[in-house]
Symmetry: D3
Subunit: 130 residues, 6 copies
């Protein structure tokens, strides 16, 4: 059954975060490969694979939380890709982050905006239309 | 124009948070009435009134962020009401919070689940079907 | 294999946190039973069951982190039980928390001390000698 | 010399926080008396005793930080007493906290306002004119 | 009236943060111009423009909070400029940050000290005498 | 007696953090030398010098807390050196950090893993066998 979690998680990670997600797992291979396995199995194999909330809504929640936390900008960038990949528009991503100024303060929102701009620029460079 | 922000914010606050939101403004009247005015004008008059993201998505983002912050359980309870008032199901609220275990840790998610249960119980007592 | 994770996790949760841990799982049954299952499977079935770090060291790490986070006092209380159950002395628990004043500030350490005192008092009442 | 730090700190703690501060040291006597000693010596004997910033400014900084942290409401209440004791007006305390909505979000500011109201009510009951 | 908030905020932002503040608004123009407008209107037009607390005290509060938050070093640097611009000495800024070791831990204070040193160096290079 | 705290702290800092710790004190000399003195005296002279918890356990607690805080990666790197210097294996350090995914979320753990990898690489380059 564990293989199911891993396989399901791996597919889900690729569906949501794409190349940006795969790179994280790759970068863990040398120093903590088992942590890469846990990322695939628990967040992606267990959580994002659940029914009860659609993927776009899940990414809205994740972008909001990663903005509010303040210390998670690398992960925010991966999930801005994720949000756009599963159906959010760029405008919607920006709206979520602006709203976080209310709950986590303007600095957290501001840092998230600039990290998001890097993702948009990268996607422009790669010819992605959103 | 400021009156517009206030009036628009007040309507939006009542639409989203209902009685739970009005009580907060009321409770500020004695100690910091101008802070109540700012809550109406900025988060509700300026942010939640924006187009570009539907209200249900905005509440998903807020429930996620308030869970992740960890110190905002009273506000989380108000916005669990809010999420249910604008179209989330109870199941969706629970899914958002469970997902936060991934980003903010199990304690933040666990405390949020118990706060949410209190909201569900209160709504049951008041005969609300969701 | 998933059953293995669940069974192993359940045994580990009982070994570490004892009755305090079981109560949490019980309290989730009505509102979010699947979250209880995740708690058993991931933190306890996957993480605490790993070799590479002894249980006492794991509880030292957890008491430190729950103190530093600041918003996790209910979970800290469970893991003060846990630390004492797997071999820490009361003095060691207090030392860990005092040390956190350096990294997370005096308020976080102070709140953790008072939460810990409640656990010690409860254990005194139950006739536990440590 | 350590006695100097302790004596100087104890005088400073009484000057700033008054009875509210003394109670904290008292409450630590049973569970972690050495932590009470550290509180007297380091924050009060070393830091608040320094020249270079007047006491009122130091309390403004502390009220701001304890509001922003979110998990430090018991300590905030002690330092609202402190701020008023060393020269802040109630209005100034409220202004500091409202300003924190900008940097730490509205929930942190809101929770701090309500904690501060409790301090004001207590001081009214004790016949303090500010 | 909204124009009043914007104009008043823009003047206040320039008075406090100077060029460092204007650059932030400028950098938002492409990705989220409306967020730049909110920064001008709410923190600067609404909050810093209030009477009841002098500007120097407001900057003391902000430097303290941005240090304590830990994730707001870019904003801290802008407000170290701000604090110096409205009347704080360099020594006072350092004192505020050292004091934060008590409330938010030594790492937050240490990172803030190094960020502040960059601001001091920049101001030295620009021939500012404080 | 204060000299005792300073001397004892300086020896303890060198024992635990080695060159990485000395560099921090050095880097404070120009901007805030008294803060360097406080770091030596309080965390190292007062806390790490206490009996009641062995140094390896203290470093386990510190690595856990610095990971969980999220904003303390430079200090985490110093204390990964520290943990290895006083008896932790690399594997144990990685285990502590992985465990933090449970309490502080996957992003905090992930950022800590990558910071730790830099320390391991540096130690490899310096020919340290652990």
């Amino acid at each position: 059954m564990q293989n199911n979690r891993y396989d399901r998680g791996w597919e889900k990670l690729k569906e949501i975060d794409g190349e940006a997600g795969e790179k994280i797992i790759e970068s863990l291979k040398e120093v903590a490969p088992e942590f890469g396995k846990f990322i695939i199995e628990f967040p992606f194999g267990d959580i994002y694979s659940r029914s009860g909330l659609d993927l776009k809504s899940r990414e809205i929640a994740t972008v909001a939380a990663l903005t509010a936390l303040g210390h998670a900008l690398p992960q925010l960038k991966v999930h801005v890709h994720g949000a756009l990949n599963v159906g959010c528009s760029r405008k919607e991503v920006i709206e979520i982050i602006i709203q976080m100024a209310v709950y986590a303060g303007f600095p957290a929102a501001l840092n998230a905006i600039f990290a998001t701009k890097e993702v948009f620029d990268e996607r422009d460079k790669n010819g992605l239309d959103k």
